[in-house]
């Protein structure tokens, strides 16, 4: 006897067609971009034969080199700072019972996700320019601070998810077995939390690497990152050099996202 089948969206008419069109719309432009990074010609949309020329050009361009180094310095510092802050915030919001003002604290932590980025950018521009005048400091510190701030919620979410799946009795059991609070954190909480922390840090790193709006507003002269350098190129004639840089960034994010999914899947 045939059992009534459960509802399955994949059996609806047109499902396959819509899925294929969606994937095409999402990925065809990216595939085109990657293909044209190997163009021997000077155009981003006229094919002139296969070549690695633009990768050499990009790698040899001092402005690109400087921007890449700056991007990595900022992303590394921002992900370290944001992950540290996010770990403390996650511990404070999950390793205890419900308390008054809990939802307000969630809103404050996740604020960078809600507030339009351009508003944060303008606010930081105004705030940092007065700090610059007062202190005279014009280094990368402002960008690192700004990136750290908007990376916190991205680092916070996987760490919080990991903590919520963790038996609340873990630290209690450690304390029962003569572990001081610091030892309990060091030997029990931290190793169990590590996959969440690594995932959070990788997410924060990618988010920082990709940022344009806040960076564009906060950076001082000569502080271009890879995304703002590429934005600047738009004002001149666009060459496949931009495609080459984009392709490298894309490959990097795919590698990091793959690592992210491996780390988050291996639970317990």
């Amino acid at each position: 006897m045939a059992r009534p089948r459960a509802f399955d969206v994949t059996t609806l008419p047109g499902f396959t067609f819509i899925a294929i069109v969606s994937f095409l719309l999402l990925y065809a432009p990216i595939v085109t971009l990657v293909i044209y990074s190997f163009n021997a010609g000077d155009s981003v949309n006229l094919w002139g034969g296969f070549s690695l020329k633009w990768y050499h050009v990009a790698a040899g361009n001092e402005a690109v080199q400087g921007a890449a180094i700056r991007s990595f310095i900022i992303a590394t510092w921002a992900s370290v700072i944001a992950t540290t802050v996010a770990t403390m915030a996650a511990l404070g919001t999950t390793r205890r019972g419900k308390y008054r003002g809990q939802s307000l604290i969630y809103i404050i932590i996740n604020q960078p996700l809600m507030v339009p980025e351009i508003v944060t950018a303008v606010a930081l521009l105004i705030f940092f320019s007065s700090v610059k005048i007062a202190t005279g400091y014009t280094g990368l510190g402002y960008l690192i601070l700004a990136h750290s701030a908007f990376c916190v919620p991205f680092a916070y979410l996987p760490i919080k998810a990991r903590l919520e799946g963790m038996d609340i009795n873990m630290e209690t059991a450690a304390a029962d077995l003569y572990a001081t609070p610091w030892k309990a954190f060091r030997h029990v909480t931290l190793p169990l939390l590590a996959p969440g922390i690594i995932a959070g840090a990788m997410l924060a790193f990618i988010i920082s690497l990709d940022d344009v709006i806040i960076t564009e507003f906060v950076k001082s002269a000569g502080q271009d990152t890879l995304p703002t350098y590429m934005l600047g190129q738009l004002r001149r004639a666009l060459t496949p050099e931009v495609n080459a840089i984009s392709t490298v960034l894309l490959a990097l994010s795919i590698v990091i996202l793959a690592l992210f999914s491996v780390v988050t899947r291996k639970r317990g």
Partner: protein
């Protein structure tokens, strides 16, 4: 020889929350748990037994009163500084550590040398028959094995007192029976004071040296299993431990006149007014009339060795009797029978 007190609670009270939302989890509990005893805190969920256990472990601080460990006041000592270990209901094994590292955790935190940790872990794993599993992770073991690891982990640092928070509730019946005798064996072999929390009265009766029955944050009775079963102090204890018949009556001279009008001679201990008689089903004898209280059989269930009779007295009050099955000695539904009870088997409770 004087009996040493391992754990003492003095007027311990615990209130959660404040104001109108305050919950009184523990009233005013005083209790002496002796060294080397298997002591059980028994009661329905929400009676405060786990709260009392957590106060002894140091996971909760009592709102009032003091906790003494071998005479020392430990009320405000953090759990990490108390020579007391806990077996958690959820086991709470560290999933990232092997069985050996779980068992050695307490010793390592105490700063014991590597070789001392290794030899103690080996000895304790041997004690719980898990020597072959030292390198496994908890997730690779069955529930019963994880239970043994939790026990071994709590026993390894040789605590003065071992606290067990309903540790058997997640196991199936067969495994539970096995672990009950296993726990008794471990307690006898190690000589460590066990404080065991359960809501299962049968478990409490079979395992404990003494039982404390709790309800609604209060301590109702402390005694040996036999005391508690044969001499319950009130209706709650009589009802919670085993099956009991209750008959309401009035003291009339030296006897009690029950609702059906008959007088029963029972040990009164000076009680007057309205009382409740508690009678265990196995203490009721039934025979042919005349003789004893007249009753009608309303139901008979043959269970092999025993037969359960549901009886109705002349006023309609119900009684349950558990009688050993003997050939030619059975009654049918509708029969009129005579019910007798030894006076000494009747417990007179204040109404």
């Amino acid at each position: 020889m004087s009996i040493k007190v391992a754990v003492a609670a003095r007027n311990v009270g615990k209130i959660y929350g404040a104001g109108a939302a305050a919950v009184n989890a523990l009233g005013d509990v005083s209790i002496d748990i002796q060294q080397g005893e298997f002591f059980t805190l028994l009661g329905p969920s929400g009676c405060g037994k786990t709260t009392l256990l957590r106060c002894i472990a140091g996971f909760e601080t009592p709102t009032s009163g003091t906790i003494l460990l071998s005479g020392r006041d430990i009320t405000h000592t953090p759990p990490s500084a108390r020579p007391v270990n806990t077996v958690f209901q959820s086991y709470a094994l560290f999933p990232h550590l092997t069985v050996a590292d779980n068992v050695g955790f307490g010793l390592k935190m105490q700063g014991k040398s590597r070789s001392e940790v290794a030899s103690t872990v080996a000895r304790v794993l041997d004690l719980v028959k898990l020597e072959a599993f030292a390198d496994r992770l908890p997730a690779q073991m069955s529930g019963g094995q994880q239970q043994r690891v939790a026990l071994a982990r709590a026993l390894a640092p040789a605590p003065e007192v071992l606290l067990l928070d309903e540790p058997l509730s997640a196991l199936d019946l067969k495994l539970r029976k096995e672990m009950q005798s296993e726990l008794k064996r471990l307690q006898t072999e190690t000589g460590i004071t066990f404080v065991f929390v359960t809501h299962d009265q049968e478990e409490a009766l079979t395992m404990s040296n003494r039982i404390a029955v709790m309800s609604a944050g209060e301590l109702l009775q402390v005694g040996t299993p036999r005391d508690i079963y044969d001499r319950p102090v009130n209706r709650f204890v009589a009802d919670f431990i085993g099956e009991t018949n209750f008959l309401v009556g009035e003291v009339d001279g030296t006897a009690v006149r029950i609702a059906s009008g008959e007088r029963l001679d029972v040990p009164l201990n000076g009680q007057t007014g309205r009382v409740t008689l508690a009678i265990r089903p196995e203490q009721i004898k039934i025979g042919t009339v005349p003789g004893g209280l007249a009753a009608t059989v309303t139901d008979a269930t043959y269970l092999g060795t025993d037969t359960h009779y549901a009886l109705a007295l002349s006023d309609g009050s119900a009684l349950v009797a558990r009688v050993q099955s003997r050939t030619g000695d059975d009654f049918a539904v509708g029969d009129t029978v005579g019910v007798t009870v030894d006076a000494s088997a009747v417990q007179v409770l204040k109404e």
